[in-house]
């Protein structure tokens, strides 16, 4: 860098640029928050969905699965599992409840969490709610 470009000029670019883009980011985030009600399926957030999300969190499901593509990549994507399972909450509940306690020899297996019927219903409701978020048509196909 030549002598005409001084450190204080560089510093001004840093502070000016940072402030400008922080403000732009806040403006975009503000606009996003106004646009979200039409996309985020909030009308379907029931107490049961809230309980389902809480169960999702305290059992660290994200430690193996991804949800809307975020999380771990050890087990299938669950953002669209409701659709993948043919729009059946019963299928989801049956799968979770049916996991063998000691796993499957040589294979990956989901742990047995011993959920009650009510908890299974809450998880299924949460996954149904998640599948109805407008994700710009992601994932590309039913396999997630």
């Amino acid at each position: 860098m030549s002598g005409t470009f001084t450190k204080s000029m560089a510093r001004n670019i840093f502070y000016g640029g940072s402030v400008f883009f922080v403000l732009l980011f806040l403006a975009l985030s503000f606009d996003t928050n106004r646009a979200l009600p039409d996309r985020d399926n909030r009308q379907n957030i029931t107490p049961l969905v809230a309980q389902g999300k809480m169960l999702w969190e305290v059992n660290n499901c994200i430690g193996c699965h991804s949800l809307l593509g975020e999380g771990a990549y050890y087990a299938p994507e669950l953002g669209n599992v409701y659709t993948r399972f043919g729009g059946s909450k019963e299928a989801i509940k049956g799968f979770i409840a049916g996991r063998p306690k000691d796993g499957i020899p040589g294979r990956r297996s989901m742990p047995q969490f011993n959920f009650s019927d009510e908890e299974l219903e809450a998880l299924a409701e949460f996954l149904k709610y998640s599948s109805e978020i407008n994700t710009a048509n992601w994932p590309p196909n039913i396999q997630g």
Partner: protein, 461 residues
């Protein structure tokens, strides 16, 4: 070492390295679970191993950043640390809280941990990388505030350099943005939207300020190039970092329910994110080429150059690879992401902490400038073993990711997730082998602290 209080960095560095070893051990466990699905099941399920792996990484990097700051700030400020006692007290608080959290992950089911730590009072657990119990999160905030206070008071009473100001800015941003980890709405889209304010704005924002400041400090020391020149570069680099990286957050907002204009904002700005990393590489090599002295600590110079190159490759190139929305539509949440994550974290943040340790530790341990030749040779072996094996881990995961995308997302007859996982198993095996080599490199790294200590210091040839 110019100031006595800089020595407080030593326990921080030791703890960082110790936790690093733990992180890699659990990485090997996970790598094994990818191919032998029931490995250690149900004692250590994959999600627990992953939590330990990622949380140890975050905690040891934080130890590294804090140790680096305690070493760097007194020297830059030309004064003793404001309170070495506070620094030491916070060290023990952080270490015990961190250890208890990890023990909690391993000893009881996660749901039990949530229950006994009162998660329902302020639910923050169970989100990727932010799995820590709420009480641990509060502890992190307290430690961070005490640490910031200590460092800021030192800067205030001494000389104010651009390096220390930028470091302080980065650390303050780190602490402030972490507060968003306490915001966990039921609305999944909002949850995810603000979750990234911690995760993205950390690693592709304020952490890069910390990285830049530490790199600049080490380069000033080992090259003897005029501070004015180095600080000018530093400002330009971090300016580009924030100009591209803040709006670049948008590359996480494509498919989580946010408006679709983020596909444009995110693609354009995050496509520019490699620029500051490229500049960092040019910067590091330029400064070393224009050096006014030959520093006897060759290992530290190697780490500094390695950081610049690997950060560019991992964060810059591998980030760009899948950042454009039309590409990300297919790669989002696949092994491509894992490949990028591994090389970026290693190249940018692991290596900068090891750069600082490499430069500072000999001085803290009473050397004039550098370790003995024997110790440095071993350290440089560990550099190459870890760095090359990380390149291979990244390449194997990338290959796995490309196949996964093809088989599961792109072909005419997409296959199910688990079927695809079995088909790409070979690459997971190769990744695990590369991981073992990485671990051997890490063991050599630990060992280099114990060899050649009675031999004379390396001299400039």
């Amino acid at each position: 070492m110019k100031y006595q209080s800089q020595a407080v960095a030593k326990p921080y560095f030791i703890a960082a390295i110790g936790l690093f070893v733990g992180q890699i051990l659990f990485g090997l466990v996970m790598g094994m679970q990818y191919v032998v699905g029931d490995f250690l099941f149900p004692e250590i399920p994959f999600n627990v191993a992953r939590m330990v792996h990622t949380n140890l990484l975050i905690v040891w990097l934080l130890f590294g950043f804090m140790g680096a700051s305690y070493y760097l700030v007194p020297e830059e400020s030309e004064t003793e640390l404001y309170s070495p006692k506070l620094a030491l007290a916070l060290f023990w608080i952080f270490l015990v809280a961190g250890a208890l959290t990890i023990v909690g992950y391993l000893a009881v089911p996660y749901a039990t941990l949530a229950e006994i730590t009162g998660n329902e009072l302020l639910p923050t657990m169970g989100r990727e990388f932010l799995e820590q119990p709420t009480i641990t999160k509060i502890g992190i905030v307290i430690v961070a505030l005490g640490f910031l206070f200590n460092v800021a008071m030192t800067v205030l009473k001494g000389r104010k350099t651009s390096v220390s100001l930028i470091l302080l800015l980065g650390l303050t941003g780190l602490a402030l943005l972490f507060l968003f980890s306490f915001y966990n709405p039921v609305n999944l889209v909002k949850d995810k939207f603000y979750w990234w304010w911690v995760v993205h704005l950390w690693v592709e924002g304020v952490w890069e300020l910390i990285l830049g400041a530490i790199l600049a400090f080490v380069l000033i020391k080992v090259t003897g190039v005029d501070r004015e020149v180095i600080e000018k570069w530093l400002y330009v680099i971090i300016a580009m970092t924030l100009i591209t990286g803040i709006i670049g957050t948008g590359h996480h907002y494509y498919w989580i329910g946010a408006p679709e204009y983020w596909q444009w904002w995110g693609s354009i700005f995050s496509a520019l994110e490699p620029i500051p990393f490229f500049m960092m590489t040019v910067f590091a090599f330029n400064m070393v080429n224009r050096r006014r002295r030959n520093h006897p600590n060759k290992a530290a110079t190697l780490w500094a150059l390695g950081t610049a190159v690997m950060a560019f490759l991992g964060a810059g190139v591998w980030g760009f690879l899948h950042t454009l929305a039309p590409v990300n539509y297919y790669t989002h949440g696949t092994q491509i992401t894992a490949a990028h994550g591994h090389m970026a974290f290693y190249g940018a943040y692991v290596m900068i902490v090891l750069t600082m340790i490499s430069y500072a530790m000999p001085l803290i341990r009473g050397r004039n400038a550098a370790n003995s030749n024997r110790s440095q040779v071993m350290e440089m072996w560990s550099f190459w073993l870890m760095t090359v094996s990380m390149v291979f881990i990244t390449l194997f995961l990338t290959a796995a990711g490309v196949l996964q995308v093809w088989l599961q997302r792109y072909s005419d007859a997409p296959l199910g997730f688990m079927i695809v996982q079995e088909k790409i198993e070979l690459f997971y095996w190769m990744r695990e082998v590369a991981g073992v080599v990485f671990f051997i490199g890490l063991l050599l790294y630990v060992l280099h602290f114990f060899v050649g200590n009675r031999e004379a210091e390396a001299q400039v040839s």
